[in-house]
């Protein structure tokens, strides 16, 4: 279990549309890499190419020492030692829980005398003991999702692929599922490739996150780096948690914006006088009566973690933390807790 996955320069085209353009990344043994992006950006296509459900036009996929796919080499999906959790679960409606797991074990060539032990072990791990003879239609949403992960892991694959597994789950089920996945990962140390469009989900589970933007890997980094140092405005937008505020680079590197003058970035992205975009994270903006910046309050609400105020700065709407609600139309002062990433507009 847990092999290194190397994906090199993947290209894929569907008709006239180029879905992937030179995607490369690695997943270290035991690591969870999340592929994050908006719909149609190429993340599920990448997962399908890794799984062997589709062929790339160019590029290479290797798992450990084995080349799964390269010019002149192709290992079909059923011979790649992978497990996969599908969006919408995709359980076989005509098979019981036990039959699902037996099917995988048989297909993977696990000796018959090991089946009972493996199945019991797996059902216990996902809390499905006693449900072995149930059909998918007889399972609740959470049980069905746990069966899908049991199916993916029962043969102890080299790597686990997850294709938006939480997309159809409500909030409590999603929390349960992510907790179960984290526990199983801690116990079994498998590597995983996790496709999602939800940054919070990616940050909760992944060691590193690869952000896709229109078929290109825009940035691969830890959640912390992605939040504080996004490589481009597109990455900042996908990662979320803030807004892009236009401004102009002033003498000395400071940025003139509708909020006021922002501190100089560590590295100037453009020449003095040029237009730039500053990524202002919600968590870095705080209402402070003595703050150097100014904006117009539009609304305030409590979001469970504290008060959140929506501010208007020029044509941009920003969010900032505050200790108390603010009246609509009030001009407020605020401070920036750290210099924001600045991009050339």
């Amino acid at each position: 279990m847990a092999e290194r996955l190397a994906v090199t320069d993947l290209h894929k085209r569907y008709g006239a549309r180029e879905v992937l353009r030179g995607v490369s990344f690695e997943v270290a043994p035991g690591e969870v890499l999340a592929l994050l992006g908006t719909s149609g950006c190429g993340k599920t296509t990448t997962l399908n190419l890794v799984a062997g459900l589709d062929r790339p036009d160019a590029g290479m996929v290797a798992l450990g020492d084995a080349t799964l796919c390269a010019p002149g080499a192709w290992v079909p999906a059923h011979r790649r030692d992978l497990g996969m959790v599908f969006q919408g679960q995709m359980l076989w409606p005509h098979m019981t829980v036990r039959e699902h797991l037996t099917f995988v074990l048989k297909a993977r060539g696990v000796p018959g005398n090991e089946h009972d032990v493996r199945i019991s072990e797996q059902l216990e791990a996902v809390r499905l003991t006693g449900r072995d003879e149930s059909y998918p239609a007889q399972l609740s949403g959470g049980e069905a999702q746990r069966l899908s992960i049991a199916r993916a892991l029962v043969a102890r694959p080299d790597m686990l692929l997850l294709d938006e597994p939480c997309a159809n789950l409500d909030a409590p089920l999603r929390t349960d599922f992510l907790a179960l996945l984290a526990r199983l990962r801690a116990e079994r140390k498998f590597s995983a490739l996790y496709v999602t469009h939800d940054a919070a989900e990616a940050f909760e589970l992944a060691t590193r996150v690869a952000v896709f933007d229109e078929g290109v890997l825009a940035q691969t980094a830890t959640p912390e780096v992605l939040c504080t140092e996004p490589a481009s405005p597109a990455v900042a937008r996908i990662v979320g948690g803030g807004a892009l505020l236009p401004g102009t680079l002033a003498e000395g590197g400071a940025v003139e914006t509708a909020l006021g003058t922002l501190p100089a970035p560590a590295r100037a992205p453009a020449a003095t006088g040029e237009k730039v975009l500053c990524f202002l994270r919600t968590e870095d903006l705080r209402l402070n009566a003595n703050g150097p910046l100014q904006a117009l309050a539009r609304a305030s609400h409590y979001d469970g973690r504290g008060w959140l105020t929506i501010l208007e700065a020029g044509e941009t709407l920003l969010r900032a933390r505050s200790d108390a609600p603010v009246a609509e139309g009030e001009r407020v002062k605020l401070e920036l807790l750290r210099p924001p990433p600045v991009f050339k507009a």
């Binding site: 459900l53 999906a77 059923h78 599908f86 060539g109 059909y135 609740s140 199916r151 997309a167």
Partner: protein, 565 residues
């Protein structure tokens, strides 16, 4: 843990492994053995066989025979005869249109009732609705004649109470013919309408209801969304009704297909072909009309996912249920009860069975073989139809539809003419095989439609999941593809069997000497046999068609029960 119970059949919203096709349609599950890569030559050979099987005989009839000088000694009918024929054609088209309208009314009513019903009502209605399809039009007409015909029960009661011999509504006209045909063929509308209702779902209507009244929602939302589905079934009904002469045969009325039959019987081949032309034009016009009606929406019909476990369309629907029960009662209970009454007693029924023992066996044999050929040959066709795009798909659809578009009489004539010139052909023509082959070709489109619906219901990701699990192609076929699609084969086989067992229009021309089927025997006894004996044979025909269907339904019901919990 109190997880909310998942709605059975909740539509998966998986992002498929290829980008969605036109209109956001999720791609179809690939057959575990990817024929497009492994067997391109085999695919071409299959299409060639299909062309030969489905339109080969017609090509022989209309091209080879015409070139061979079949029109050399033919004299076109005089003006008076032309006028009479034109009148008959108009009457035939009017009857077919009326039958189609009634079938749409009945079919949609039953589909909506099934869609909206819950629990047992839904299961019973779902199991019963195809039964009228199993009753040959001749049998249904005989039964209805016994009820409201000149010597029928209702007429006797009417005379008893009013002293008037004639009923206000006569069976012996266009309405009576259309009524019987509609009662036989309306399940062909119910099937696609159900697929449509389940694909479209209740949300579109509910969304519309926020902004507009009931009528506007019906006209602007429901009708356009359901039109491709309902019209697909209506086209089948219109074609079958256009070409039917079983009902006029029973009612002693006349229509255009009967003229063709008469011309063939009197060996006037030129006249028969001359008369075929307007019928073929009418068939093509029906298809054209449908294409115009559903411009741009037709692609959704066949790719829509048939989900037997899909949730119903909401609540209530008692009125729809009541209407559906009435329709099913008129189409099944009334004819059977009428036949039982006419048969009189068990002994007459047994006599009927005994005297038609050979015909019953022949019917079973031909229908079994025909259904098997249909299902076996139809499966690759359904897969191809679902996979192809653009002009290839249109060409294949047209090819598949041709045998049903052509009236049964012409179909029978074409097969005779195609087989006659060669020694092997004559051997086939002299054996029972000709009936099996002809039935298989004639009802091929209905079979392909059922199979395509079953294949389309299989989500591609279910096979992907098996692939990722490590299952090789044979195992994926055996453990996933087949268990999830065999019900489609069963349905296609059962319906194919029933339709073949009751086929008369083509088989009356094709049956070899000394080899008769039950519908042929019934038609020969129509006006010369004892009524009780005829009714007994009709009951035997009903039993023949119902037995395998009920067995298939029981099997399907058990399977679905297991799957749905």
């Amino acid at each position: 843990m109190n997880d909310p119970v998942k709605t059975p059949g909740q539509p998966p919203t998986a992002s498929p492994h290829a980008p969605p096709a036109r209109g956001g349609i999720v791609p179809l599950a690939k057959f575990p053995f990817d024929g497009s890569r492994i067997f391109p030559a085999l695919r071409k050979a299959y299409v060639a066989v299909l062309v030969l099987f489905l339109i080969g005989p017609l090509v022989v009839l209309f091209i080879v025979k015409v070139r061979a000088g079949v029109f050399d000694e033919f004299h076109a009918p005089d003006a008076k005869e032309q006028e009479r024929l034109a009148g008959l054609m108009v009457s035939t088209v009017r009857t077919a249109a009326l039958a189609t309208a009634l079938a749409v009314l009945f079919g949609v009513t039953v589909a909506v009732a099934i869609y909206r019903a819950r629990g047992w009502t839904r299961r019973i209605l779902g199991a019963l609705f195809p039964i009228p399809l199993l009753l040959p039009p001749a049998v249904v007409t005989i039964a209805w004649t016994h009820l409201i015909g000149k010597r029928g029960i209702v007429a006797a009661l009417w005379f008893h109470f009013t002293g008037v011999k004639e009923l206000p509504l006569s069976m012996y006209g266009e309405f009576g013919t259309a009524w019987c045909l509609a009662l036989c063929w309306f399940p062909l509308v119910t099937m696609p309408a159900l697929v449509g209702l389940r694909s479209v779902g209740p949300l579109a209507g509910r969304a519309g209801a926020v902004y507009a009244g009931r009528w506007a929602v019906f006209r602007r939302i429901h009708v356009p969304l359901m039109l491709p589905y309902v019209s697909a079934g209506a086209v089948f009904v219109a074609w079958l009704a256009l070409g039917d002469f079983e009902v006029p045969l029973v009612l002693l009325t006349n229509n255009f297909p009967m003229q063709i039959y008469g011309a063939i019987k009197s060996l006037e081949m030129g006249l028969a072909l001359y008369l075929c032309a307007p019928m073929l034009a009418a068939g093509a016009a029906v298809l054209l009309l449908r294409q115009v009606l559903v411009r741009g929406q037709a692609a959704a019909t066949i790719e829509s996912r048939w989900r037997p476990d899909a949730p119903g369309g909401g609540h209530g629907g008692r009125g729809w249920s009541a209407a559906a029960w009435i329709v099913l009662g008129l189409a099944t209970v009334m004819p059977v009860a009428s036949l039982l009454h006419q048969t009189g007693n068990w002994a007459t029924f047994q006599d009927g069975l005994r005297s038609a023992k050979a015909e019953i066996l022949h019917s079973y044999r031909s229908a079994l073989e025909g259904a098997a050929i249909m299902a076996a040959l139809g499966a690759p066709c359904a897969l191809l139809l679902l996979r192809l795009r653009g002009w290839r798909r249109t060409a294949l659809s047209l090819l598949v539809f041709v045998p049903l578009m052509v009236p049964g009489t012409i179909h029978g004539l074409a097969w005779t003419q195609a087989l006659l010139p060669t020694a092997p052909g004559r051997a086939v023509l002299g054996s029972h095989l000709v009936l099996s082959l002809s039935d298989a070709a004639r009802f091929f489109p209905i079979c392909v439609f059922l199979l395509a619906a079953a294949f389309a219901a299989l989500h591609p990701r279910l096979l992907d999941a098996a692939k990722i699990a490590g299952a090789p192609p044979a195992m994926r076929w055996r453990k996933i593809w087949w268990p999830l699609t065999w019900t489609g084969f069963l349905a296609a086989f059962a319906i194919g069997f029933a339709l073949s067992a009751g086929e008369l229009n083509a088989s009356i021309l094709l049956s070899p000497v000394g080899y008769s089927t039950l519908p042929i025997r019934i038609s020969s006894l129509l006006h010369f046999g004892k009524d009780e004996m005829l009714a007994g044979m009709c009951l035997a025909q009903v039993v023949i068609a119902l037995a395998p269907f009920l067995a298939a339904t029981a099997l399907l019901d058990r399977t679905l029960e297991v799957r749905l919990g």
